[in-house]
């Protein structure tokens, strides 16, 4: 038995390092949404708060059915589409998120500071799969580097709430 202790410790150490060292794992989204196919539409058409509110919001079925009358293609399963058609909420998983103690407003960054969505979310228009992980590392250093570069407020309380 005693011989097994070191390998078990090694396994645990590897597991711990794996979790700590790698970025967050991508999550599976309920629908294989293709951003590239929708690139002709402005972001704020579906993410309605992106330019006018604090939260951009992830579109729900009512947004889909404004344009789609039937299931778009085989990328959406019949069962998933029946939920959408019935107006049931889609179980999107929000992957790009700021911590609870941060006050972030999309409007302040997009329509007021004239930042492109891509500056934080990457080139969504080129994506053929939904976001499984944030395009940018959401960390204070990321925020601060841009704030410093752009001359935005670096007061802690400007973002910390």
């Amino acid at each position: 038995m005693r011989r097994l202790v070191p390998p078990v410790l090694v396994a645990l150490a590897v597991a711990g390092l794996w979790i700590l060292a790698l970025p967050a794992a991508p999550v599976d989204q309920p629908i294989a949404f293709n951003h590239a196919r929708h690139a002709a539409v402005a972001c704020a058409v579906c993410h309605r708060g992106a330019e006018t509110a604090a939260r951009a919001g992830i579109p729900q079925s009512n947004v889909c059915t404004r344009c789609h009358a039937t299931a778009p293609d085989r990328s959406v399963s019949a069962r998933a589409w029946s939920d959408v058609a019935a107006g049931r909420p889609i179980a999107w998983r929000q992957v790009t998120q700021v911590p609870e103690h941060v006050m972030f407003s999309h409007r302040r960054h997009t329509s007021l500071a004239q930042l492109a969505c891509a500056s934080c979310h990457g080139d969504a228009a080129a994506r053929v799969t939904p976001f499984g992980a944030p395009a940018t590392r959401i960390a204070m250093t990321t925020c601060l580097s841009c704030h410093t570069r752009e001359g935005a407020s670096e007061d802690c309380a400007a973002c910390h709430r």
Binding site: E100, R108, C156, A157, A158, H160, R161
Partner: protein, 225 residues
């Protein structure tokens, strides 16, 4: 740069404590029970205290919140700069930086900083009542009045979106907004035309414990003639 200040006219203040409840709801300050209150665990950012003020025969009911000192004794002693004086004169508390040593709470002569002894707790039914603009402080950190700083940020954003400068009425803390006796006035002390600046120059104006050199930006107006 604005210097936010608050004037409280003690002659007008009726001690109704509407401000206390408004503050509690606005800032997600958790509720107490008789036991926790008796053990000094009553969480308030703003409360009424009985203060002996010069020239008054009995103790006056004084609404007491963070005095937003220009020379805050709390920020000096913080080992991690979790509490600091921001450029607009608001004493801010950065919760993820706070290690919970409670040195600031002890250094504050007004005893207005409160500590999260336990994780904040709301009955499930009441959880949706929490203000999403204000964070929920985890257990083990210190918190205090921020002059409803989140309202300033929201007001500034609204003003910018409307393409104008922030106006005096845009940004008012929750306590001032509800004060039925109109005893509280809030505004920019650095603006000589503001109402607070005028009132701060009143012969009735005093800053509580100003002899300690804390230079508060909460200014009280004395009761009586």
């Amino acid at each position: 740069m604005a210097r936010w200040g608050l004037v409280i006219d003690l002659d007008r203040c009726t001690g109704c404590q509407a401000c206390v409840v408004a503050c509690k709801h606005e800032n997600n300050v958790p509720f107490s029970t008789p036991e926790t209150a008796r053990g000094g665990r009553l969480m308030t950012w703003l409360q009424l205290v009985a203060a002996d003020l010069p020239g008054r025969p009995t103790a006056s009911a004084l609404p007491l919140m963070c005095q937003q000192c220009d020379r805050p004794p709390c920020t000096d002693v913080c080992p991690t700069s979790a509490t600091y004086l921001n450029p607009e004169g608001i004493v801010a508390q950065i919760y993820p930086r706070c290690i919970g040593c409670r040195y600031c709470t002890n250094a504050c002569p007004y005893a207005v900083k409160v500590f999260n002894w336990t994780a904040p707790d709301w009955p499930d039914a009441m959880a949706p009542m929490r203000n999403p603009d204000v964070s929920l402080r985890p257990k083990g950190v210190v918190e205090t009045c921020t002059f409803c700083h989140h309202r300033l940020i929201a007001a500034r954003e609204r003003a910018r979106a409307a393409g104008r400068e922030i106006a005096p009425d845009d940004y008012v803390p929750a306590c001032v907004a509800t004060c039925p006796a109109e005893a509280m006035v809030f505004g920019d002390l650095s603006d000589p035309h503001s109402e607070v600046a005028a009132l701060a120059g009143s012969p009735r104006a005093f800053r509580w414990m100003e002899e300690l050199g804390t230079q508060p930006k909460v200014i009280y107006l004395r009761e009586g003639e």
